[in-house]
Symmetry: C2
Subunit: 214 residues, 2 copies
């Protein structure tokens, strides 16, 4: 019985890690699509989002089977409960990457990001996808401290988000209102992607410590 | 043992319903604050959001106790798992209401919503808060069909959201870019609030049917 349980727990970890890989890839590709106005790549990112939905459902099924058959306790129970939460957050990260890709698609063939904001969005994409990469590592080899680390990284995202908002609401913004509103939303997708990553890291710490950080 | 279990399950339902009440009130008050530029009310909504965070943590604790002590199966297990998911979504609804309130606060003493969009945002607030009210009823007396109903209501939110986006990206928009970007984000908070309500209703159906709607 115990061996089956351990196998299911390992499967759960692998499923979550695989979701993290998909989210990181989606964000990286979506950022490329939005920066280079690559409509085909944008479509591919949006289509691939269905994989994350399926992966989330598979995680939920594994969790239900584990709970129904094994009645885990303490640290194992925390891991199982955390998996439900994290799978949902990572699935949402995929949605947000798809929103980034959709912005590329909507504004195609025009480029959604004007030259003066290329650096900001390149950084947002690199940092956000890197946070998803880091989650994959944390899921595979959990240890306390992921939350503090990603919370710190999140500040770098917030500062770029603030810089974009300052640029698009500047009275001298030269690219018109549709561009400004689209970029405000675009920056928010990155900010929310990073927020989800932080909340996953917080829950992963909880698996180890049994305490949810404030 | 069974009685303790039923008491815990009832407590979980009550905790979730209470969260729904808080989310509905937050959205109603936040909408009033943003439409009347009531800075004090906005501050109160933002401060009250901490109550929802506490309520969510209490739900999680009840769930953990239930799982650790009672090993529920089938429908009961689905309810317990669903509670984790729903508590998180309703807590997020509170965050979004707080974002609406924050928009009122940031633009105070100016009114964030110009006269020509008052009707749209009044409707968004009424429909969104009504969706939270409906969740409270569905949590208290679950029956299959809540998802289809709220998914239908969500279309009314989406159409108002689209109308606001069309207005603020119109070349003749007279209120400037900061107002346009702020209103685009504001409309998105309502849209996301409604999305969370739909996903809660979907999971509540699942408690009854054992099947997650596509």
């Amino acid at each position: 019985m115990r061996d089956v349980f351990q196998t299911d727990l390992d499967a759960l970890r692998e499923q979550l890690a695989e979701m993290g890989v998909l989210a990181a890839r989606a964000m990286r590709d979506a950022t490329t699509a939005v920066l280079t106005s690559d409509g085909e790549l944008a479509e591919r990112v949006m289509a691939a989002d269905a994989e994350l939905d399926v992966a989330r459902d598979r995680c939920d099924e594994t969790v239900q089977r584990l709970l129904a058959l094994q009645a885990p306790v303490a640290g194992d129970l925390r891991l199982v409960m955390t998996a439900v939460y994290c799978a949902d957050k990572i699935e949402r990260m995929g949605d947000l990457a798809a929103h980034v890709a959709d912005t590329a698609r909507i504004r195609h063939p025009e480029c959604a990001v004007p030259a003066e904001l290329t650096a900001s969005f390149t950084e947002l994409g690199t940092i956000a996808a890197g946070m998803a990469d880091r989650l994959v590592e944390l899921i595979g080899r959990p240890g306390h401290g992921g939350f503090a680390e990603l919370d710190d990284t999140d500040r770098a995202v917030d500062s770029r988000h603030a810089a974009v908002m300052a640029a698009v609401t500047d009275p001298d913004w030269p690219h018109g209102i549709p561009s400004a509103t689209s970029l405000a939303l675009l920056a928010r997708y990155y900010e929310r992607f990073a927020d989800q990553a932080v909340s996953v890291a917080k829950r992963l710490d909880f698996v180890v410590t049994g305490v949810i950080a404030a």
